[in-house]
């Protein structure tokens, strides 16, 4: 499989290059994240810092590889690089249950990867190529056959497992909750989102939108699945006591947003989904960094750990409120704007259930986060030892706080620049004929 990595991206301008640049955008984020992490890994795994940073670099390299490659098999390889480092990052901490969660993730992740590989195998047999551009050309000239359909479905099944699309999400809550904080705040904003990117890439650049949305009756079914994902994610989140686990279920609900947006099959929905990749990454990062800071000071991520937070950690609380508002979808935070596009897309497609699910999810998020905010604001907190009431301000160290505040401000900045992000990047991604 000697296809060069650069070929696709170098020779094929037009659709796709924008998605890449968009996903390159958060490239600053791992950097920012690195500064931030140095504070918290010191106490999470002081003896394994070298291992952590090695894995971290490999993970980011894998992610960037996925977004630049123009070759389906290379994509698989890079996906595995990312996933394997991800498994290791999860198992790195001291939590005794983390390795088991990681193994669970590894088994399911490998099944997903195998599905994807199988799909690629079909496509290779059909077209004799592995380059996305060539394959797209050949597939449009071919008559749609059952084999193409099967290949497509296999690829999708693999991608859906890896992106934790309900009900294929079972690996995610345990893996992310039990992972050390440093790892989960790296994985959560990026790993599932990159799979959404792969899904969009497959639909737009390999199989044509015509084939995906019109030759099959799959689209309405997937949108319904997204509705389920959104609602189930919300309801499951409501039943969690641990805030980190709750966030994981919110994440599953957000995956539903993006999957639904993609499969609405119209321009607004697709715009919303792509925009939400960025927005969701920013706001998830924001809240996971909040989790880190709280864990650093309180060592307790249950709702009780957030008691009195507004007094002892006012800046972290402010950042948490900003992130929460973004999840609820309050303008001018970025969460509002992608939701706006998704709502428009849902209405245009006449899919009222998806629209309702988005609104209900906003309200569920409001309940979820205001539960935490109430605990932070109304109840008196406990100090570091868990007994004495906290006295005075006990913020996280500067190197943990500054990146968090930057991310929190970022949710607003990204929101205000929605217009530019859409016209400069997303508009160029979506083929012109795609309405």
């Amino acid at each position: 499989m000697g296809h060069s990595l650069s070929r696709g991206s170098a020779e094929r301008p037009g659709p796709g290059s924008g998605v890449r640049s968009l996903l390159h955008q958060p490239r600053g984020k791992p950097y920012m994240y690195r500064i931030r992490v140095s504070g918290c890994i010191a106490f999470e795994f002081p003896d394994r810092q070298g291992a952590f940073f090695t894995l971290y670099l490999l993970f980011v390299a894998g992610l960037l590889g996925i977004t630049v490659t123009g070759d389906l098999f290379n994509l698989y390889v890079l996906l595995e690089v990312t996933s394997l480092t991800g498994y290791a990052l999860i198992a790195l901490g001291r939590n005794p249950a983390a390795p088991l969660a990681s193994l669970h993730y590894l088994l399911l992740g490998t099944i997903g990867a195998s599905f994807y590989l199988l799909g690629i195998g079909y496509l290779y047999i059909l077209t004799g190529s592995l380059t996305m551009g060539d394959m797209a050309d050949i597939l449009t000239r071919m008559d749609p056959s059952i084999a193409v359909l099967v290949a497509f479905l296999l690829c999708m099944a693999g991608v859906w497992i890896k992106m934790a699309f309900f009900p294929l999400h079972v690996w995610l809550p345990n893996a992310y909750t039990l992972a050390p904080c440093a790892s989960s705040s790296l994985l959560a904003p990026l790993m599932t989102k990159v799979m959404v990117y792969v899904m969009i890439r497959l639909i737009l650049s390999v199989f044509s939108p015509d084939f995906v949305y019109r030759a099959m009756d799959l689209a309405p079914f997937v949108v319904w699945m997204s509705v389920l994902a959104i609602l189930a994610g919300g309801v499951l989140a409501l039943s969690q006591k641990n805030v980190k686990r709750m966030l994981c279920y919110v994440l599953i609900s957000e995956i539903g947003y993006m999957a639904g947006g993609v499969w609405l099959g119209n321009r607004a929905g697709m715009t919303g989904a792509i925009l939400h990749i960025l927005n969701d990454a920013v706001m998830t990062l924001c809240l996971f960094l909040v989790i880190n800071n709280v864990f650093y000071r309180r060592r307790n991520l249950d709702l009780e750990g957030f008691r009195g937070l507004s007094r002892s950690m006012p800046f972290t609380t402010a950042a948490m409120v900003t992130g929460a508002l973004s999840f609820i979808g309050v303008p001018p935070t970025c969460g509002f704007f992608s939701k706006w596009y998704l709502l428009t897309g849902a209405l245009q497609a006449g899919h009222y259930m998806f629209m309702a699910a988005l609104l209900i999810s906003s309200l569920i998020n409001a309940v979820l986060f205001f539960r935490i905010i109430e605990a932070a604001y109304f109840e008196s907190g406990t100090g570091e030892d868990g007994q004495e009431p906290a006295q005075g301000i006990q913020e996280a160290p500067m190197d943990m706080l500054v990146p968090l505040l930057v991310t929190a401000v970022g949710t607003v900045i990204v929101g205000l620049y929605t217009g530019d992000i859409v016209t400069l990047f997303i508009e160029r991604v979506i083929p012109r004929g795609f309405t």
Binding site: V321, L325, I328, G329, V330, P331, P332, F337, W340, L343, T344, L347, Q348, M355, L359, S362, L363, A366, F370, E374, Y377, F378, G415, L416, Y417, T418, G419, D420, V422
Partner: protein
Amino acid sequence: MDELFSIRPLLAILVSAAAVPFIMWSRRPNVREFWTFSAAAVKLGIVFSLLPMVLAGKRPSLVLAHVLPGLPLALRVDAMGLLFALVSSSLWIVTSAYSIGYMRGLDEHSQTRYFCFFALALSATVGVAFSANLLTLYLFYEMLSFATYPLVTHHQDHEARRSGRKYLAYIVGGSVGLVLPAMVVCYLTTGTLEFTAQGFLAGHIDRQTAWLLGLLFVFGLAKAAVMPFHAWLPAAMVAPTPVSALLHAVAVVKVGAFSIFRVLTGVFGVDFLGRCGLDILVGVLASITIVTASLMALSQDGLKRRLAFSTIGQLSYIVLGAALLVPKGLTGGLLHIAMHAFGKITLFFCAGAIFVATGLKNISDMKGLGRRMPLTMGAFLVGSLGVIGLPPAGGFLSKWNLLLGTLEAHQIGFLVVLLVSSLLNAAYFLPIVYNAFFAPPATTGASSEVHEAPAWCLAAILVTGTCSLVLFFHPWPFMDLALLAVTQITGR
């Protein structure tokens, strides 16, 4: 209509938000209050400096960011917005003075946080007033909801928590659950959300959709407390009284009424409303609220709760004014934003002053209070007259215009509603005043010496009470602005 590029609307909004860091990092309370007053004065100054331009028919406007295609975050000051901004920014100064007296008099905790969020809430209020399109309005509307949450729940006890929950459930539930989808529908059918004379929906949607959207907006903008979305308002009265005064008589609820007024006139447009019969629907909803709220106010013994139900009723006057669709009705509705604000804030200030000075909360305990607090109860009388709509208080002018509007629109039913409501208003306010001055004191042991509230409180009460009277004789600039706003709304 000539639009005029101007950065002043943005400055007017930002000045109070910009004061927040200064308020936060002031070590001494006096310095902190200095910043509040400076911000309030600068804000009022900027708003006032817009007045000549607006009265000359210009509309200062500014685009902040292009966030969605055809849908920027934009500000535009027209007569209607300026009227509301003037009311809220002038009353902010008075309320700040009152807050100092009240918060220090009761030795409240977290005063810094209180003043910070107060400043933020004022930013959002003026933002709503100056919004050029529905998206911008929605942004500031939501910002106000969240900025006022810490104020409503200031006491941080169990009751505050419950009320805060109710407050957010109604307000955010309404705005996310009802207004947001309505906005998306409007945007999809027309491609714009910009407020224009006679609205932008006409010709794009049919009658049923119009009715649906109308209901979504009227109920979804729950800050206006149109029944049955009113229950948050009495609950939110757990807040400290200055919060209730400014936010629940002026800023928050008026933002709701103003938003409904704006949506009805700038999104639907008065002609289109009349064509699809939506005016009658909204008018009936408002009428039901007016009468029911007044009846409920009669049975309340807590003074603040009675005022809260009175507010619910009075807000629907404004909505009814918009639903009358005729110039007189619109003028009356807009004037009522200002007149009711001055009257009701006086009443709330009085309630707070009574609480600070005597600790009394219930009306039944306030007999004979007029001898101990003559100035306060005198101001209470003036405020009551304003809310009932009797001369010589400013409230008469707005109610007079509303009554003329019902006649002009040939809506005798609404005329009856307004008259009945006035009687009910008199029935629930005047006995308080009568008992205060003429009934023997409820508790025999109470001293009959004059014992007024702290000077800061008293000064604020006298200022708003006097304003309420002066507005009857000189309703400038509110009358000019209201009349100009009506021509801008109708485009005629």
